[in-house]
């Protein structure tokens, strides 16, 4: 998913991750770029290959870079893609006694980074 824009931001992100490294210690982290995000709702991530899916769903922490602000949820579907996912939170369940547990299959933490 690397793009020129992505690379240009790499150093800033390294700093960001450095600040949070205690929290991320011993955890796998992936960084993905979204096609767009709806403030307060989530980000829309295109999935073009199996490895894209692995990046988004198999790490313990996923950082989603949000650059293009979208007005509505529907707007995120206007573009071209093969498969995609609108992510609004980490992987979670309340299937056992309604107790909320994060990281049931996918990331335990999902961080949206708004890039201005």
């Amino acid at each position: 998913m690397a793009t020129e824009w992505h690379q240009a931001l790499q150093s800033q992100l390294d700093d960001f991750i450095e600040k949070l490294k205690d929290r991320f210690q011993r955890q796998s982290i992936s960084i993905v770029e979204s096609l767009g995000f709806v403030p307060g709702a989530g980000a829309f991530v295109s999935i073009g290959s199996r490895s894209d899916a692995e990046e988004l769903f198999l790490s313990e922490v996923v950082i989603i870079l949000c650059r293009n602000q979208l007005e509505t949820y529907e707007a995120s579907l206007a573009g071209e893609f093969s498969q995609a996912c609108f992510v609004s939170a980490e992987s979670k369940t309340a299937d056992i006694e309604k107790k909320l547990v994060s990281g049931v299959h996918g990331p335990k933490e999902c961080i949206f980074v708004e890039v201005q």
């Binding site: 769903f57 498969q83 996912c85 992987s91």
Partner: protein
């Protein structure tokens, strides 16, 4: 109370509370109306929309298969699976209906449910007990016991530890699976897109890692556009799990480079449902909101209340996707209390549809016998010459205050007493009504012509109900206002004859002054007053009666007319929820005669009063 009951009770109540909190401040009615209209429009055009979307999916490389029956869908999937041995599967009611997992397991394939709740019940060899929370009936202790026994672990009864184990166990399954199966919540026709929601991420993994992906959906899941889906989608997550958005909404338009994708569209009775008089039921989005609020479901859970589709709506869906014997059995558990209807985001009139469904079914013998016996007893108590039974035509004009249908009065107020006040057990309440009329509505004419027809309607005796309504229409025609002391009769007739039908207790309020009681007075809200103008009864009565707060005032008492005869144990369980913390001297006031009799079973005669009698008594003092 068994642990099973408590698990379901606690879980459903928690979800209801969360949902109420989420909806607070939102214009829920407009959201619902908008979504219902979009859904209805898409369903009306399903044929065209499926044609458009199928063509586009095929162009995009997704194979579309329309299956008339579950058997043909299973056969297609089996053929296309080829030599796939390990299959990861997401939660899907449609595949439960098809018994797809069991079908593939017979072919010696390993099919692993990956939704945590589904995985748990798969290990326990059980069926799901809720649309969206399949293991809602189990405690952490039950799950720990299963994991420790089956996988040789020593885990505590802790949701975090158990979930972490499932994560490790299932991660390898995802990585090594040959094929994935998921359900779809919606299909958008333009542009052709499959939409599937989840919180766990298991759908995302089951669908993207294996080489073969099978997406199974129902014919009724089609929508015309993204805009059409969005409103429904938000209501689905809010109604199902009290979330504004689920963690993941997955979209599929084309296969990934390593994939083959098949979209299986199942009819299996859905088209017939959409074309029938029950078509409102086709709007169901399987959110389970009706189950979370259902007083029967929270006591008995899904396994008693349906196989795949539970609750009142489950009876209807089972009728079309399963068989009418199972549908009848499920329908018999429904109280017809209508508690589910305000909770349904799609505005499905579940109780009314079940009334129609009951019309075409005869009850199983073991259920119909007690009803018939009760009918005979009531008939005898009413002093009727002919033993008509509860299922026969309603009684004609009554005794001393009878108002012949041909009689026309110039008076503008009538009091329609209703059949429940003919019951000898309601003698005192009847006297109270008559005294109230004499004192506060001296010009009113008493219409003592028996039943409003509601019991017939909800038992599915529609022609008798219609006949009764025609009689009542003529009877009340000369009057501007018709007062009913019975809340159920009021709700039923108000819906059919509009504003001229009023609840007698509310009409009395302006004629009385506030009376303070020494002991606490509690309000019991009858289920039929949970919607419409009856919801304001407590506020109106509060002008006269100072009610003490009672946590259980809105909770159903389990009466349901003859329900306590049909399902005595369930009825008693529901009733027991009204009891906790009730001690000493107090009075419970209600406007429903049926609730009143039921509440007296636990609280005693002296502690439960009809609203009209209670206010008259207070005024007399």
């Amino acid at each position: 109370m068994s642990k099973f009951n408590e698990n379901v009770f606690k879980a459903t109540n928690l979800t209801v509370q969360k949902r109420e909190k989420l909806f607070r401040g939102h214009d829920l009615d407009s959201l619902r109306e908008n979504a219902q209209a979009k859904r209805a429009m898409s369903l009306e055009n399903a044929d065209v929309l499926w044609k458009i979307s199928a063509e586009q999916f095929q162009e995009n490389g997704i194979t579309v298969f329309f299956a008339d029956t579950a058997a043909s869908a299973n056969k297609f999937i089996s053929e296309k699976m080829g030599d796939a041995k390990l299959i990861v599967k997401g939660k899907s009611l449609t595949t439960e209906e098809m018994e797809l997992r069991q079908f593939l397991e017979k072919e010696e394939r390993e099919v692993v449910e990956t939704d945590l709740g589904e995985w748990i019940i798969q290990q326990r060899k059980e069926l799901p007990s809720h649309f969206t929370a399949p293991a809602i009936h189990l405690s952490a202790g039950d799950v720990a016991q299963m994991v420790n026994r089956k996988f040789g672990e020593n885990l505590p009864a802790d949701a975090h530890a158990l979930t972490a184990f499932a994560r490790r166990h299932l991660r390898e399954k995802f990585r090594n699976a040959d094929a994935g199966i998921i359900g779809a919540n919606a299909i958008c026709a333009k542009p052709a897109t499959v939409l599937s929601v989840s919180n766990e991420g298991n759908v995302s993994l089951s669908s993207r890692l294996p080489e073969k992906l099978f997406i199974v959906t129902g014919w009724d899941r089609i929508y015309d556009s993204v805009e059409g889906i969005e409103g429904v989608q938000r209501l689905l997550s809010a109604s199902a799990t009290a979330q504004e958005y689920t963690s993941y909404v997955d979209f599929f338009r084309k296969p990934l480079p390593h994939q083959q994708v098949f979209l299986i569209v199942l009819d299996n009775g859905r088209k017939a449902l959409m074309e029938s008089v029950f078509s409102d039921g086709a709007r169901c989005i399987r959110c389970g909101a009706c189950l979370n609020i259902c007083p029967v479901y929270e006591e008995v859970g899904g396994h008693t209340f349906g196989k795949v589709y539970h609750g009142g709506i489950g009876a209807l869906l089972t009728e079309f996707t399963g068989n009418d014997r199972d549908a009848s059995a499920i329908a018999s558990y429904c109280l017809r209390c209508k508690t589910c209807e305000p909770a349904c985001p799609m505005g499905i009139p579940i109780a009314d549809l079940l009334a129609r469904l009951s019309e075409s079914h005869s009850l199983p013998f073991y259920l119909s016998l007690p009803l018939r016996m009760l009918g005979r007893r009531v008939g005898a108590m009413r002093g009727r010459q002919k033993d008509q039974g509860i299922g026969d035509s309603p009684p004609s004009s009554g005794t001393h205050h009878s108002s012949p249908i041909t009689h026309h009065s110039s008076r503008s107020v009538a009091v329609f007493i209703g059949c429940m006040f003919r019951n000898p057990l309601m003698k005192r309440e009847r006297k109270g009504i008559e005294s109230t009329v004499a004192r506060f509505f001296p010009d009113a004419q008493i219409l003592d012509s028996g039943c409003c027809g509601m019991p017939h309607f909800y038992k599915g005796q529609l022609s008798a109900a219609v006949e009764r309504l025609e009689i009542i229409e003529k009877m009340i025609e000369p009057f501007e206002t018709v007062l009913l002391p019975c809340s159920s009769g009021f709700a039923y007739l108000r819906e059919r004859f509009g504003d001229k039908i009023e609840l007698m207790s509310m009409a009395m309020v302006e004629k009385l002054e506030k009376v303070d009681s020494i002991s606490p007075v509690y309000y019991h809200q009858p289920c039929h007053l949970k919607t419409g103008p009856g919801t304001k009864e407590k506020a109106a009565l509060n002008q006269v009666i100072t009610f003490s707060s009672w946590e259980n005032e809105n909770r159903c008492c389990g009466s349901g007319g003859t329900y306590f005869v049909q399902h005595p144990f369930v009825s008693r369980k529901i009733l027991s929820r009204k009891e906790p913390g009730m001690d000493g001297k107090f009075t419970i006031v209600t406007s429903c005669p049926s609730c009143l009799l039921q509440l007296r079973r636990v609280f005693g005669r002296g502690r439960v009063a009809h609203s009209v009698s209670y206010m008259l008594q207070s005024a007399t003092k």
